[in-house]
């Protein structure tokens, strides 16, 4: 298979964008990415989005975003895989270029979440779960993750407080990210006292609901060589699935889809977890961060939380995570998140991550999870000098 590169990135700040709709948000991110790459017209556009139908009464997002981004008539479709929609859109972009069909395409993720009342957004997010056998019983998406967290605490003997450093680390890193929704540090005391959403998950275990868009330009090697900026190679792009409902999994505390997509990605890139310099994981909830670290091979089972307790997840630690704030503090505009993760990994690999720059990093991994572990998309990105 031919080598594939990222030659341009763009992102909006994550937040409550009352003055911007899905169109303006995606336009801003796409134009930034195209300008960086010095490309006027890509051949195709893949738009990652989960909730435009439910929260904005707007589907057909491929054509809509293409048109408003000045790309009318090109191939354009929406890609939906719940919170992994962004990662899935990039995966489809990768497949389109890897197949040889196209030489330059755009993957964009966009989500508009803050206009609806909270209960409507909560209902819409729960559609990532099994509608008949999970959501119908009044389980919010947070509640499903809370079931995993409580069982994890029970099996491995952790307390709520043990998860605090996932949030503290994310917020510390977000403080230096101009695009983060919550660019400020938090304390362990604040974590302990945070309001419960679905016990044992509190507000500070949970990622922030926000509006935002991010975009990357994906190109073949031939095309990438003529671009102005350091191209970053996509060394692996791998997607795997599991049952949508947690109750259908024989071992609910092991994210099988995350494990399988990680293993596929390691095989594609011909590397192992010990060679990965940093990991932009899916910390939608602190329990998801712990389970992702275990599924991706950075910690044995039951030890993911220990990496947080021992601060091995910080910028100076053994495996830095959420280096620009993660879902927790950069924010989680769900369908855009997978692209934000990749944009941030590209910044790190290009050496453009500012105060949060990791020294000498060469291999970065991103993992975008949809539902409570039903879909996982893993990308490994490589700086090639």
């Amino acid at each position: 298979m031919r080598d594939i590169y990222i030659v341009g990135i763009g992102q909006t700040k994550v937040g409550e964008h009352w003055d911007k709709s899905l169109r303006e948000l995606s336009l801003e991110a796409i134009r930034q990415a195209l300008e960086e790459a010095q490309i006027e017209l890509p051949e195709a556009l893949f738009v990652g989005n989960m909730l435009s139908g439910q929260l904005s009464n707007q589907q057909n997002l491929g054509a809509l975003v293409a048109d408003h981004a000045g790309l009318r008539h090109i191939e354009a479709i929406k890609v939906e895989a719940a919170c992994a929609s962004g990662g899935a859109a990039l995966h489809m972009a990768y497949v389109a270029v890897a197949s040889g069909l196209y030489d330059v395409v755009v993957a964009c993720g966009v989500e508009k979440m803050t206009e609806a009342p909270p209960s409507k957004t909560t209902t819409a997010l729960a559609s990532a779960a099994d509608a008949l056998y999970e959501a119908e019983h009044g389980l919010s998406f947070v509640a499903l993750n809370a079931l995993l967290m409580r069982r994890y605490m029970h099996e491995y003997g952790y307390s709520r407080e043990d998860f605090g450093n996932f949030a503290i680390n994310a917020h510390r890193n977000a403080a230096n990210n101009p695009c983060a929704m919550f660019p400020r540090a938090i304390t362990q005391e604040a974590f302990i006292q945070a309001k419960m959403i679905a016990d044992p998950i509190s507000l500070l275990d949970s990622s922030a609901i926000g509006d935002g868009a991010a975009a990357v330009v994906v190109a073949s090697e031939h095309f990438a060589k003529s671009r102005p900026l350091t191209p970053i190679r996509i060394a692996a792009s791998a997607l795997a699935t599991d049952s949508v409902a947690i109750h259908d999994r024989p071992d609910p505390l092991f994210l099988q889809a995350a494990y399988l997509s990680s293993q596929k990605a390691y095989a594609q890139a011909q590397v192992g977890p010990e060679e990965i310099d940093f990991f932009e994981l899916h910390d939608a909830f602190s329990i998801m961060a712990a389970l992702s670290l275990e599924a991706a091979g950075f910690a044995p089972r039951g030890q993911g939380v220990r990496l947080a307790i021992e601060n091995e997840i910080s910028l100076q630690g053994r495996i830095p995570i959420s280096t620009m704030g993660g879902l927790k503090a950069r924010g989680h505009p769900v369908g855009a998140t997978g692209i934000y993760q990749v944009v941030e990994a590209v910044l790190q690999l290009r050496g453009e991550a500012g105060a949060n720059q990791l020294q000498g990093c060469r291999l970065g991994m991103t993992q975008n999870i949809g539902g409570s572990g039903a879909v996982a998309v893993t990308h490994i990105l490589e700086r090639v000098d």
Partner: protein
Amino acid sequence: MDISAYWRTRKQRLSLTGEICPHCGAKLFPPRDICPHCGKPARTPYHFSGRGTVYSFSIVYNPPEGFEPFVPYVVALVKLEEGSLITAQLTDVEPECVYIGMPVEMVTRKMREEDEDGLVIYNYKFRPVLQPTSL
């Protein structure tokens, strides 16, 4: 939930009717027609006993639409005695009294009333086992 979907799923919701795999004996709830354990067709109906224990639980404070009047309420994964996990609300119990391993049994309860057409949704919930069965 639409009326047709409500009707279609009545056996699952009101009598915990799942399936048993004739090939490997796995008991499946919800029914899915293909056994996830051995990959073969599994369409033989099977009535679950409705008894189990709490595998995990959460107390919901920020509910989805339609569940606002019930906050806070307890949701759980219940390990049925046949081996399957099932997702449901717990009822007839104070949230602070729930624990992992608590013996529970299925009951039929009103979940909520739909706003638009007034459809009243019944579904299974689980309550603490009140007394030992005499069977």
